[in-house]
Symmetry: C2
Subunit: 407 residues, 2 copies
């Protein structure tokens, strides 16, 4: 019996204490920032709903966001990809201005009716706060890398109320097909602490209910795999279309601030022509509805188009809540043809389109369990993994490395 391991355990106590403190700090900061974001987005959404004419100002809002980033935000335009790049290859501290710019940009996008998400904002605020801590505590490069990952985990966990999915997301998003454990304690601890903040500050997350999950059978498994393929293709097309359209905007409109102006015109006109506001903003009411009633079979496509125009033209926000919308409504639509209850398909689509687009199948599976309960676990795993396999080696985060490949 070797007992020579004891000194290693002493070093581990120091490691644990140090990272417990650092993770708690970044967890509290990122959790508070996410709470502020959630409150601000609730306000922006409620204001837009009660003043529909705000949509007509969307082009002007786009111009304002574009001008702000053009004059003050060139160094932080990379957004999430900048963070992922910094983790892979640390170059310089993330500029603090990324925080206020993305927060204000996101709130403006949502106030005037752009179709976008919020996790990108939470992640970037988490990243900025991690680098504030890096500076204050004079951390070295390696510690900084870990803290940035913890900041991503904390941001994701607190904005969606899913601590374990957030923790795994921070570990899983960096590379396709590989997960390293060197940041496992900081990522989980920061995510768990951050997840406490919204509740403590009186901010609540939306509740989604999948009332009944059928027993596993060949038919159920088959339907889940077919749905998974559809979700993966949706995720891939979303990522490809966003990158492609962004490229086109850049080629067609050389003056950057004009791009979100034009994007705003397109979104405002489209919503007016379709006479609906359901593809604007986060779209939470439609996501909730996809669990409770059959929806229009093309709702997922509407959200898809509104979101790629909004984000590719230069509005700010995230991709993930629109991906939840696209997935939940696509799942709902698949309920017309597949032998699974539509609330189950909505739940599977919710997590699986995201799994494919972000290449994060394990975080997405855990998210399904955290949001919808453990009964959906096995089906969610199948849908998320199949979606991940079918979404190709691209994703919404271009800075993601291709690790060991998908198969």
């Amino acid at each position: 019996m070797k007992l020579t391991k004891i000194p290693e355990q002493c070093a581990m106590v120091l490691y644990l204490s140090r990272w417990l403190a650092l993770s708690a700090v970044i967890g509290v900061l990122a959790g508070a920032a996410s709470s502020a974001l959630l409150v601000a987005l609730d306000w922006a959404t409620a204001t837009r709903m009660s003043h529909p004419w705000l949509l007509w100002l969307l082009p002007i809002a786009g111009l304002a966001v574009g001008l702000a980033y053009h004059h003050f935000g060139k160094s932080v335009e990379g957004g999430n990809n900048l963070l992922i790049d910094e983790i892979h290859d640390p170059q310089r501290i993330v500029p603090r201005r990324m925080g206020p710019l993305i927060l204000v940009g996101t709130v403006i996008t949502h106030l005037f009716g752009g179709s976008a998400g919020r996790e990108g904002t939470a992640l970037q605020m988490g990243g900025v706060l991690a680098d504030v801590v890096t500076r204050v505590c004079k951390l070295n490069k390696e510690d900084r890398r870990i803290l940035l990952m913890a900041g991503i985990s904390a941001g994701f966990a607190s904005v969606f109320g899913t601590p374990l999915a957030g923790a795994v997301f921070g570990l899983e998003v960096l590379a396709i097909g590989r997960l390293r454990y060197d940041a496992i304690f900081p990522c989980f601890m920061a995510a768990i602490v951050a997840d406490q903040l919204p509740g403590l500050l009186g901010v609540h997350h939306t509740h989604y209910a999948v009332p009944f999950v059928p027993h596993m059978s060949v038919l159920v498994l088959g339907a889940t795999i077919v749905a998974g393929i559809a979700f993966g293709l949706a995720g891939m097309f979303f990522a490809t279309a966003t990158h492609g359209l962004s490229h086109l905007f850049k080629r067609w409109i050389s003056y950057a601030p004009m791009r979100p102006f034009v994007g705003g015109v397109i979104v405002a006109l489209a919503a007016t022509l379709l006479a609906t506001d359901k593809y604007l903003g986060l779209g939470i009411p439609t996501i909730v509805a996809s669990f409770t009633q059959p929806l229009l079979a093309y709702d997922f496509f509407g959200k898809f188009m509104f979101t790629i125009v909004t984000l590719a033209s230069g509005f700010k926000g995230g991709e993930v809540t629109p991906l939840f919308f696209i997935g939940a409504t696509l799942g709902n639509a698949l309920g017309y043809v597949l032998a699974l209850p539509f609330p189950v398909l909505a739940g599977l689509g919710f997590v699986a389109v995201f799994a494919g687009a972000a290449n994060t199948p394990i975080a997405s599976t855990i998210m399904a369990i955290e949001l919808f309960g453990p009964e959906i676990g096995s089906l969610a795993a199948v849908a998320c993994i199949v979606s991940y396999l079918f979404s190709g080696n691209t994703g919404i985060y271009r800075a993601q490395l291709v690790g060991d490949g998908k198969f």
Copy 2:
């Protein structure tokens, strides 16, 4: 918008169909084998309980197991490590005899009162069945590697009734600190299919209940971290003690079949002197009791000693159910000193000692959610990760590679 990805998706349909078939086959085979094992162990345990004198035959039973492996089983003595080695560095097909030898050896160990587990048996049967499929389907080296991993996932999933934990275990157990995704679909699919078999065949898993999980607080988090350290040290000492004692047995007793004979004498004498049978066999009743009532504070130590003597001397079975026992009773004992309800600590110990000894923190966290419900998720993650960090770079599976390290 690049649409050149389509051919890749066609190749993926072929990949998916092929691995769906292979995973389903290995899932059905491994699930059926696990069901047979569970039935056989139920019979062996019931028979031993109603005929306590069987314990006195434990030395003879040990001699029989020792002779069988000495004359017919030298090539498969490596057990789980042989499987892990074959996955890392494929050399030759796993001999089919590993299946019957480990099954009969395990049943004999349990029938006569050895203290051991069952997952090693399920894993090895899964591995042998995977190589039977390899031979029949003439798979190449790379496919064989994936199928062996799927066999491990399927065996683990079906023997414990935890499909997602089993799937992740097969991916996570190969290397410390790193998880590769290249076998993700086969491992999950085989695990999910295998998990169906015991239920279909009328075999049921034990139900453990953690009735109440306290809300997160600084005190709760602190107690969980302290408990996690204790669980990690227990896991490390278990692995170190089993390896060390096995080494001593080999040095002291050169004729291999005599080792389990001597081990059997020690176990039988100790149980008689202590006048208890609760450290014999799987110990399920005591594990269940650790969730419902305060137990003796040294029960974990009793199981620890009985198990290392049983396994280090050459009896067959697994390590994991004894680790569940050690963890659940150690957690129960910590209820005397830590500010957490003892059923919560029992549940945390159940998964976290295993997480530390096997270096599988994510599989163990998922297992906690599958066995005890999602409420325990965050605490289980903390306990499992802290245990994993404190268990050092050794574990019960010596063939495990040290991947990217723990921190």
